[in-house]
């Protein structure tokens, strides 16, 4: 019997269609893997299910009841719990206080009944096989314990369906095993799970059935035992695209950036050489270390071991050092890491260049405006006046302004961390066009992206990261979404499902 049925769900944000007539059915007592690339619509669907956002159309049937207008409170009461990627527990309270948060047991006097709460918490932990002291402070727990605490809390609130959003990203192998043991036990007790993960081996270990979304549409659903990692990977990325019109091979120069056995935050022993004029794509799922390597290459994160050389010079220290060696990095997460909201377009463009030319402090407005105009034409930025607020621009145009910010520094090496995040299709294509143009003029571009089809359009090589290591380096002709997905989900090592050289 199905515990959850979501039928004909559609949702659009402004003009962007996030979900189009999708459906999802979860049986009682099963672990259901929800799969898809970033932006496929998984989060949107889960947000609709938990009442965070409204659906435009479609219906939700949970535990035999229809929910036409789900709100966070009604869905919580109905028995749906969302265990988020970032663990959502209160660090400054003890374990049992977290479990009873907003549901505290009181004595007849109206005071907190600590004793009973502690008793009930330890009963709960014994039942689940979780080894946590109910009186410990949450801040002292390991991430895996916090995760279990959150699951326990949901179960204590008598959740019937738990949504686990990439629950294993921060866990070690043993911790994952422990978590899976508990999940199996709960499954046997009749609880259901929606399990969101990018890690293919895990899915094949724990899930009973799966559903794949791509670009906001339903692609496939079925039993895990009837499918293969290959089949799922191709469902996730699709078979079409790969328009080759952009890419053409260019003559490459000498090695300009060299990483030798670099170990840093979230990655270890990474070695890599990049040539002048080359376009190299980094890819890897969250936690794979791809973004961290890039940030380390710009001095944002420190590194512990190894050497980073740019044009033969060993580099260390903060961002300023790397900028002086003609590196530039467009960070991911535009709103948080790039937008200076109170400054106009012009100042947003010039801020990085200002840091390089500190010795001449006075600003020539006229020179800056004419420089901006050049960049605006080069990047096709649609802005009225450089004195307008940066917030008056669309996401895509903002991103182009931040590209202009770094092109304005006359850098030789451009690091782009997820540059097409949250920009529309048109602006995306223009950003890729620009990357090729920069490389054509001798710039070196390294781009970290999850959008595998895009990689093929522009890059000479693709470096796949997995669990903090370089899993595989593909040459342009070898780039193939299938294989990239297999290497980044690490399916290749465990299931051994494939032989696909070239």
């Amino acid at each position: 019997m199905a515990i959850l049925e979501m039928q004909h769900i559609s949702k659009a944000f402004g003009g962007v269609i996030a979900l189009s007539d999708v459906h999802l059915t979860v049986e009682a007592g099963e672990i259901h893997a929800l799969l898809g690339e970033n932006g496929a619509g998984k989060s949107t669907l889960m947000n609709i299910l938990t009442g965070v956002i409204n659906t435009d159309s479609g219906e939700i049937l949970f535990d035999g009841k229809r929910y036409p207008n789900p709100t966070i409170a009604t869905m919580e009461r109905a028995g749906i719990a969302f265990v988020h990627q970032e663990v959502n527990v209160v660090n400054d309270l003890s374990v049992f206080e977290n479990i009873f948060l907003n549901r505290e047991l009181k004595t007849k006097m109206g005071l907190l009944n600590r004793k009973r709460m502690i008793e009930e918490a330890s009963e709960l932990f014994t039942r689940l096989g979780v080894d946590i002291d109910p009186c410990a402070m949450v801040s002292e727990l390991k991430t895996s314990q916090k995760q279990l605490l959150e699951i326990s809390r949901a179960l204590h609130a008598s959740a019937k369906l738990l949504i686990l959003d990439e629950p294993t990203t921060a866990l070690s192998t043993q911790e994952v095993e422990h978590l899976f043991g508990i999940l199996r036990k709960l499954k046997a007790q009749g609880h259901s799970f929606i399990f969101i993960s990018h890690k293919m081996p895990e899915i094949f270990e724990i899930a009973d059935r799966y559903t794949v979304f791509r670009n906001g549409t339903f692609i496939s659903s079925g039993f895990i035992k009837d499918t293969t990692p290959h089949k799922i990977a191709s469902d996730m990325v699709g078979e079409q695209y790969l328009d080759k019109d952009y890419y053409e091979p260019r003559p490459l120069g000498e090695t300009i950036v060299e990483l030798k056995n670099v170990t840093g935050h979230g990655f270890a022993d990474v070695s890599l050489e990049v040539k002048k004029g080359e376009i190299v794509a980094f890819t890897g799922l969250a936690g794979s270390g791809a973004s961290e390597v890039m940030q380390t290459m710009f001095g944002v994160l420190p590194f512990e071991g190894g050497v980073i050389r740019v044009e033969g010079k060993s580099l260390r220290g903060g961002i300023a050092h790397f900028m002086e060696s003609k590196l530039a990095m467009l960070p991911s997460n535009r709103k948080e890491n790039s937008v200076v909201p109170d400054m106009d377009i012009l100042d947003n463009t010039c801020i990085a260049e200002h840091c390089l030319s500190k010795n001449r402090q006075m600003i020539s407005a006229r020179a800056e405006i004419s420089r901006y105009d050049e960049l605006r034409k080069l990047l096709w930025i649609k802005s009225e006046s450089p004195k307008d607020s940066i917030l008056s621009l669309s996401g895509g145009n903002q991103q182009k302004v931040f590209l202009a910010r770094w092109l304005n520094t006359k850098a030789d090496v451009l690091l782009l961390d997820n540059p097409t995040q949250g920009v529309d299709v048109g602006a995306k294509a223009e950003i890729y066009r620009l990357i090729l143009e920069c490389a054509g003029r001798g710039m070196t571009v390294i781009i970290n992206t999850l959008e595998i089809p895009e990689i093929k359009k522009v890059s000479d090589r693709c470096v796949v990261f997995s669990e903090g290591h370089v899993a595989k380096i593909f040459q342009h002709d070898e780039i193939n979404e299938h294989d990239v997905m297999l290497y980044s989900t690490n399916a290749i090592n465990t299931r051994g499902g494939a032989n696909h050289a070239g």
């Binding site: 944002v300 961002i319 300023a320 900028m323 990095m329 960070p331 948080e336 890491n337 790039s338 937008v339 200076v340 909201p341 109170d342 400054m343 100042d347 010039c350 801020i351 990085a352 200002h354 840091c355 390089l356 030319s357 500190k358 001449r360 402090q361 006075m362 600003i363 910010r405």
Partner: protein, 372 residues
Amino acid sequence: MRANKGGFAGIGSFLAKAWKRYSFIFVFAIILLVYSFTIEANGNTFKWGHITAILASQNTVIVGTMALGMALIIITGQIDLSVGSALVLCSGVSIMAFNMTNSVIITLLAAVAAGALCGLINGVLAGYAKMPPFIVTLGTMLIYRSMMLSLVRSIDPVITGSSSSQFAMLSENSAYDALRMKFGTGSLPGVSIPYITFVFVAMMLIVLLISRRTKYGKSVYAVGSNEKAAFLAGVNVQGVKVSVFVITGVLVGIAAFVQACKIGNVTPASSGKSYEMYAIAAVVLGGVSMSGGKGNLLGVFFGALSYTTINFIIVSIPQLTTDIQDTFQGLVLIAVILIQTVGPFIKDRFIEARKRRASRKQARLDRAESKG
């Protein structure tokens, strides 16, 4: 669309824009108008003398000069509560330097150096040691003042220039006349604007220039607006955070020098009390956002003038005794800030409602079309 309505709407939108950018001038004009009414109501005539009194006031010149630095600190998203105490410290050091050396230059340098040091201590603790600026400067506020309280009693009266509780400039020094009589209390003949007001205006112009026309100035705004983005664009965030405290220290030093020349003495127990609050008030009246990233230094100039004028209005109402005056000062301040913070909120709500209505209308039209 608006342009089609002709010249009248053009003026309207020009005024709306001017109001948005230079609201502090309008605020000052309104407050000045109210002041002139209260003067007239008291049976006197509003004269040029009233305006020069505003320009010459402690609250304009001393607090205003400190407020310029405070504005930079607030723009970076920090706060400095120690400026009032630092003012006393700098004045005391400056007066002692004067009494010992009888040199104008050394008197000025002593004040500026003491101020810069006070600012550096605040800045290093807040910027590099990453302590909350509120707490750091709360601590130094207590330290700077109490140091002078104990110094004034323990140092030889020949150096402090006074018997027990004050630092005072020795009038028998030969430079006394130039500093105190000519500079500190004199004014430009003809317009009778005090010289010390020109010091304030000069400081305002310098800080305005730095904030608008230098790369450093832009980085100050960037740090306050989005620290993370500024850092990732190569801005030395900690350096900027420390530097604004040092600049404020220098300005406090200059204000202390001016204060010493104007008054001739300083009393650690009472001088400069609550000046940090007055400076913050002037900054806020000048339209600088307390959340950082936004604000015009020209506004701080008018903010200081507005604050002084508000004081003058309250003092000029005979029904208000000295005891109740602070209540009214506080009320006016809260009212102005309320307009500043609630105003944009109301505007956003208004715009949002309009957008919603438009989209509902669009949806209705779409539906009608699809049915048709």
